[in-house]
Symmetry: C2
Amino acid sequence: MFIQFGATGPKERLGWYQVEGGSMAQACTKQEGQACVVCHVGRRSDWHDLDPTASALLTSGRRRREYGSGEVVFAQGERNDGVHCVSGGTVGIRKLDGNGNSVLLELAYPGDTIGYRSFLTDSEHKTSAEALGPTVICHIDHSTIAALLAGNPALGLRFLKRSIGELEHAHDMMFRQATLSNRHKLVHLLLVLVGRHGRRNSNGSQSIDLPVSRRDLASMVGTRHETISRIIGRLETDGVAHFSGRQVTIPSVEALAAEIDCLIPA
Amino acid sequence: MFIQFGATGPKERLGWYQVEGGSMAQACTKQEGQACVVCHVGRRSDWHDLDPTASALLTSGRRRREYGSGEVVFAQGERNDGVHCVSGGTVGIRKLDGNGNSVLLELAYPGDTIGYRSFLTDSEHKTSAEALGPTVICHIDHSTIAALLAGNPALGLRFLKRSIGELEHAHDMMFRQATLSNRHKLVHLLLVLVGRHGRRNSNGSQSIDLPVSRRDLASMVGTRHETISRIIGRLETDGVAHFSGRQVTIPSVEALAAEIDCLIPA
DNA sequence: GAGCAAAATTGACGATCATCAACGACGGTC
DNA sequence: GACCGTCGTTGATGATCGTCAATTTTGCTC
């Protein structure tokens, strides 16, 4: 019924995940029965200052799991079975249709809660979530999250703010889709990815290990993968970015940003 | 600083607003000091089952106002000063940049609450709201809505569900932007507008009075207004829709829907 | 109704894109 | 190592789009 993109089965060579430059990802010292540190510190998580009883409830109702590249966390159309909290790695939120179309709508990072929308509306998942590379994700089952929400109004408020943040992100995306050229949309996307996945090189340039395929890149820009290939080619000849597989090197992020800054001063 | 689109100054010839076919809009018998019926009935509003004290608080902190076509309800960049609830008419939610670009992101109808995002995040408005045609809107000031939220957790939950609904709407939009052609995007938009603004004619065809200009239509589709003009021309020659100013007549809505149904069976 | 500004249409042209097809590269399986 | 499916790239071609410009239409003010 639903297509699994890039799903190549579990790779059990985990127990670690890459800490990317600029990312907040941290190794999580797994100790069953104790609260996972990553899920609480840094106020990057929605669960960081629960009262002791709620915290205990969370600890008992939470299951930590590692996902291999391409593994599906939850699939579009499935009934909701609780929420997930990204602890490490990168997760892609994807929407599919019955014609084989696939659009990567957003990326989720450590601290982000996913699957909360279908939980709160008590409905099936409207999107799929899939690990982009080795990923660690906590699952909080349906009854636990329900109990937590009932006893902690602040948690609901945090979901509300998360939802609003995602909505404003979606509005920005819609605005760019309507006003920018495909090239500028790709440049913008690269700049966002540099912020999340970029590492600084000794010569001042910055490099990214893209978490997504060219096809997904194309879906995020709103065009076909062949077109993305050609735009990448133009970026190469213009010398503003160098692509080698999923590795991208940007000689001057400022020069790349200037390309869209002249159009979007705000 | 911010451009007012279509703003031609207030038209004081109000006191009524058009009841469009298929729309839920109803005339609101204005009586100061009493609860506005439209804001409570039909569970289309976020305020429909407050307790008596909250209801009294709402009544005293609410101000009803009529807006003329093009009038701005709140402007992008302004500080939030409470929330608005659409009572009658149609409101456009718009995003602008400093280059004169304008994108109509969504339409708000009677029962919809707008401006709640910047209230809940205590920030400036990220979008503008503008009356598309004669409109009636209630304004609930900052302190009133704060008091209501503090005493009615259910109200916050309703905002949460509203936000989630808008987010899923935005995701659908993003998906269509990435997968549909401009023609199909316009067809889809027409079908949505038929559902909201359409009226059935005696011969089985349906007509719409478009609430938006061609430029706004173009921004919603993600293209230029000249292109929209040409696509409309093609729809005319294909006989699937007839345009005369802002009035559109669709001989067979089913035939129009079939154009995208064959591509989006889901 | 005259006048005006914005909206809408139409034409022409170059740029960009979608599609189909062919091919090499890569990763995983057996 | 052979096989296979997917991904990525490149080419060719027709369709579509963006831009500039000219013109008409519309809606509003006076």
